[in-house]
């Protein structure tokens, strides 16, 4: 079963239930044919956590897992279902250790079992990737055929490889002057890709073929904003200063800015990559702070990611709750530079962005902007159900 990220609510529910079953039933599934020490070892490894928690116990447990043979490989992958990222890395190292020892000894691994694990999209995406890589080493031809069916795979690394195959085919078509074929293949790759570098490559090719890509729509950058500036950022103190918009969002309110009274105004993004450009709105100011607010309407309660790109110092709030902030200037800016897990509530949600500009005068310190989109965990843009431009949000930042 291959579930597209654009699945129906029923399919989403089915997938959620399936994952729950895998997680809850992991112990039985993974250890059914394993000795008790295997299950104990997996339990110890899955208990590792932040700040090195559980590391001491996991060290010995890891040796138990890594001492297994190739028949344990699928069970090690299954143990990744529902495990935290640290535990997944412990398990990956055990997997690699078994694989290395097995292949060095000239033995093989259960290709069919691995393949079946890979095809079951309910499993941990990274575990599936790991299984696929081993399968590809053992049976490259079959793996290659399977990859063709993974264009919409929820495992992003598998999807990325599948998309790359299509891109390569499109490049070949283009080099053999088959423009129509290349266009179709690039478009197919574009529809499936969630990788920014791949999308950039495809977009350039399609543009060269006379079919420019609407990046704004493709990425789903938020375009309707209300902005207010400039507030002070002398000595970079603005980052930690709670100016009025952080205390209360009142679009009708006029408040004290850096030098004069300031008030909210509309801003509609025109940049093809969704940049809310404060220089465009206020001129090239230095040592200033701006805020941008938008209302995002969700058709249901849902977990999402807020993905931000900026080279400025920033903070982001959702419904008054600070999600994250970084006090760093002009080091880099790229699409999806920061991903923040967030919980949308059904109905209107207020997103507030604070964006600070520093004092430097060099050419590379001019940018004062950001781009933001709401996505699912795979990077699929989630559109706002409606945009209420003038509505005053009920929730204020804290």
């Amino acid at each position: 079963m291959c579930l597209s990220p654009n699945q129906s609510p029923a399919a989403r529910l089915l997938r959620t239930l399936a994952v729950m079953l895998i997680v809850l039933g992991w112990g039985d599934a993974a250890s059914a044919s394993q000795p008790p020490e295997f299950a104990d070892a997996v339990r110890a490894i899955r208990a590792v956590g932040p700040e090195g928690r559980g590391n001491a116990d996991a060290t010995e447990a890891w040796r138990v897992l890594a001492a297994g043979d190739a028949t344990n490989l699928t069970a090690v992958l299954e143990a990744m279902d529902g495990a935290n990222d640290f535990a997944v890395n412990w398990l990956r190292a055990a997997f690699d250790s078994i694989v290395g020892r097995t292949l060095d000894a000239g033995r093989s691994a259960p290709v069919a079992d691995l393949g079946l694990f890979v095809l079951d999209t309910r499993h941990n995406p990274r575990a599936r990737r790991l299984g696929f890589d081993l399968m590809a080493r053992l049976d490259a031809a079959t793996a290659n055929k399977l990859l063709a069916g993974m264009l919409n795979d929820p495992a992003l690394e598998l999807r990325c490889d599948a998309v790359q195959k299509v891109i390569d085919q499109a490049d070949q078509s283009l080099s053999s002057s088959n423009a129509a074929g290349a266009t179709l293949l690039y478009q197919q790759a574009l529809n499936a890709s969630r990788d920014v570098d791949q999308i950039d490559h495809i977009s350039k090719k399609l543009e060269g073929l006379g079919r420019p890509v609407d990046s704004l729509k493709l990425f789903g950058f938020l375009t309707q904003w209300r902005i207010i500036a400039p507030f002070d950022n002398t000595g970079k103190k603005g980052f930690d200063t709670a100016f009025p918009p952080e205390q209360q969002i009142d679009f009708a309110q006029e408040c004290d800015g850096k030098t004069n009274k300031v008030k909210w105004r509309d801003y509609v993004v025109s940049d093809k990559f969704g940049k809310v450009d404060m220089n465009d709105a206020y001129g090239k100011l230095k040592e200033v702070t701006a805020y941008a607010a938008t209302e995002f309407v969700s058709d249901r309660d849902q977990s999402v990611e807020l993905r931000l790109g900026t080279g400025n110092s920033w903070k982001v709030w959702l419904n008054g709750k600070l999600l994250f902030g970084r006090d760093e200037y002009h080091y880099d800016s790229e699409i999806d530079q920061y991903s923040m897990p967030a919980q949308l509530q059904r109905g209107p949600n207020t997103i507030l962005v604070k964006i600070c500009q520093n004092e430097l005068k060099e050419d590379w310190t001019v940018d004062w902007d950001f781009q933001l989109r709401v996505t699912d965990s795979l990077g699929d843009p989630i559109p706002s159900a409606a945009i209420a431009k003038a509505a005053t949000p009920a929730t204020n930042p804290q």
């Binding site: 590792v48 932040p50 700040e51 090195g52 928690r53 590391n55 001491a56 996991a58 060290t59 890891w62 040796r63 890594a66 990222d85 640290f86 997944v88 890395n89 412990w90 990956r92 190292a93 055990a94 690699d96 250790s97 290395g100 990274r126 992003l156 690394e157 990325c160 990788d195 570098d197 080279g311 994250f324 970084r326 006090d327 760093e328 200037y329 080091y331 880099d332 800016s333 790229e334 530079q337 920061y338």
Partner: protein, 402 residues
């Protein structure tokens, strides 16, 4: 060197290390100087012992423990796959490889990559860290000892250009310098478990320099550099021993010779002379004539060498900072030079290795070898051989055994 002082530069940092080991960035003395015999003074393809494929990019240096060479790499979408690879030094055979998924941010400026910091070893364990601030400890056979996601534990301690500070190990403590504008700390991680033994707040400034270890009496001091000053800490406890407020460089690291520290400043170089243990060093000289670019300076005996951004190698008197000669090499350079005997080994970003004989009055390029690939990594020396690594290959020139 002042004989009345108790301070000596540390030569070995772990109980299981051998004299020929190269256990960390710039070798056993953190100084880029080797007293190995038999390292080829003439680099040519006849001296190639072996060349091995690497699974991904890296600016980190190889480290060598006994007959094992360890290299870190990164690969895959957003460089999120982290590799630690072990080769047999004698024949280049790959012995094992461990891969991990980054748990911290992998955003980097395109010239650098996630596998920028060099790992460290005490001779029994190897600890690797990456730009994502993922840290992993393995034993010599690739058994996983612990894993830390410092980027997950402290998510604001990151840099959108990438992190690069290399690790040190001292007496059961891993010193990890994780310094950036938004959050900044240096931590002492327990070598056995990876948990914090200590964590020291550091100036919130971007910092790509690597710490060095000094042996003062019976313990090790780690000297940390930043644009807000230098600080010496007890590596075992994190206790601050001394600090100054000079504006040092954020990229090239300290070089040492005897009781002198050669510290890059923004447009020049400062020499500090160490005092009694715990005492703040005194400034010996400062000059704008010696400007280190990305590469760190290197010093031996009475001389200090500095490569600037345009590829000019300067040699100066260690005692005074007086420039003795300059030699234009084929640049530019990211890799720090390494000294063996009276030769300075420099490899530029295009992969042209240049061996400079500094016994000649004005310095002289003794020979060159084109490796044909981009090299930003500092070479390593062990067992009468020199190792270079690119994004795709690891080369060993010199002896084929050990």
């Amino acid at each position: 060197m002042n004989p009345s002082l108790f301070i000596a530069l540390i030569l070995l940092t772990g109980p299981s290390l051998r004299a020929a080991d190269w256990p960390q960035f710039r070798g056993p003395s953190c100084n880029g100087v080797s007293d190995e015999a038999g390292v080829p003074a003439t680099l040519d393809t006849n001296k190639l012992a072996w060349k091995a494929d690497l699974p991904g990019r890296g600016l980190s240096s190889p480290i060598i423990i006994g007959d094992r060479v360890f290299v870190t790499c990164c690969s895959g979408p957003k460089e999120q796959t982290l590799h630690v690879v072990c080769f047999r030094a004698s024949d280049g055979a790959k012995l094992w490889e461990r891969r991990f998924w980054a748990t911290g941010r992998t955003v980097c400026q395109s010239k650098t990559c996630v596998a920028a910091p060099t790992p460290a070893s005490d001779g029994k364990y190897i600890v690797a860290i990456f730009s994502s601030n993922d840290a992993v400890c393995l034993d010599m056979d690739g058994n996983l000892i612990w894993y830390r996601g410092l980027g997950r534990d402290y998510p604001n301690a990151s840099n959108s250009l990438g992190m690069a500070s290399s690790l040190l190990i001292s007496d059961g403590v891993v010193v990890a310098e994780v310094e950036s504008e938004s959050d900044s700390f240096t931590a002492g991680l327990d070598l056995a478990t990876g948990v914090n033994r200590w964590k020291l707040d550091r100036p919130r400034k971007s910092n790509w320099t690597s710490p060095i270890l000094l042996k003062t009496g019976v313990k090790d001091d780690a000297v940390l550099l930043s644009t807000m000053g230098a600080a010496a800490i007890d590596a075992a406890t994190g206790k601050l021993l001394w600090a100054d407020t000079n504006a040092y460089s954020a990229i090239p690291s300290i070089a040492t010779s005897g009781d002198l520290l050669f510290v890059p400043i923004r447009h020049g170089m400062m020499a500090l002379q160490l005092g009694l243990p715990g005492e703040q060093p005194r400034q010996l000289w400062q000059t704008l004539q010696l400007h280190a670019g990305t590469a760190s300076p290197v010093a031996v005996g009475e001389k200090v060498f500095v490569l600037n951004d345009t590829g000019v190698l300067s040699c100066a008197a260690a005692a005074t900072g007086e420039r003795l000669w300059q030699l234009r090499l084929k640049g530019p350079f990211s890799a720090t030079p390494i000294i063996v005997g009276h030769f300075v080994y420099c490899v530029n970003e295009s992969g042209v290795a240049q061996v400079v004989d500094f016994s000649k009055p004005e310095g002289q390029v003794a020979n060159e070898l084109e490796l044909g690939e981009t090299i930003l990594s500092t070479p390593s020396i062990s067992g009468g051989a020199i190792y270079f690594r690119s994004d795709a290959h690891l080369w060993k020139f010199g002896k084929t055994s050990g």
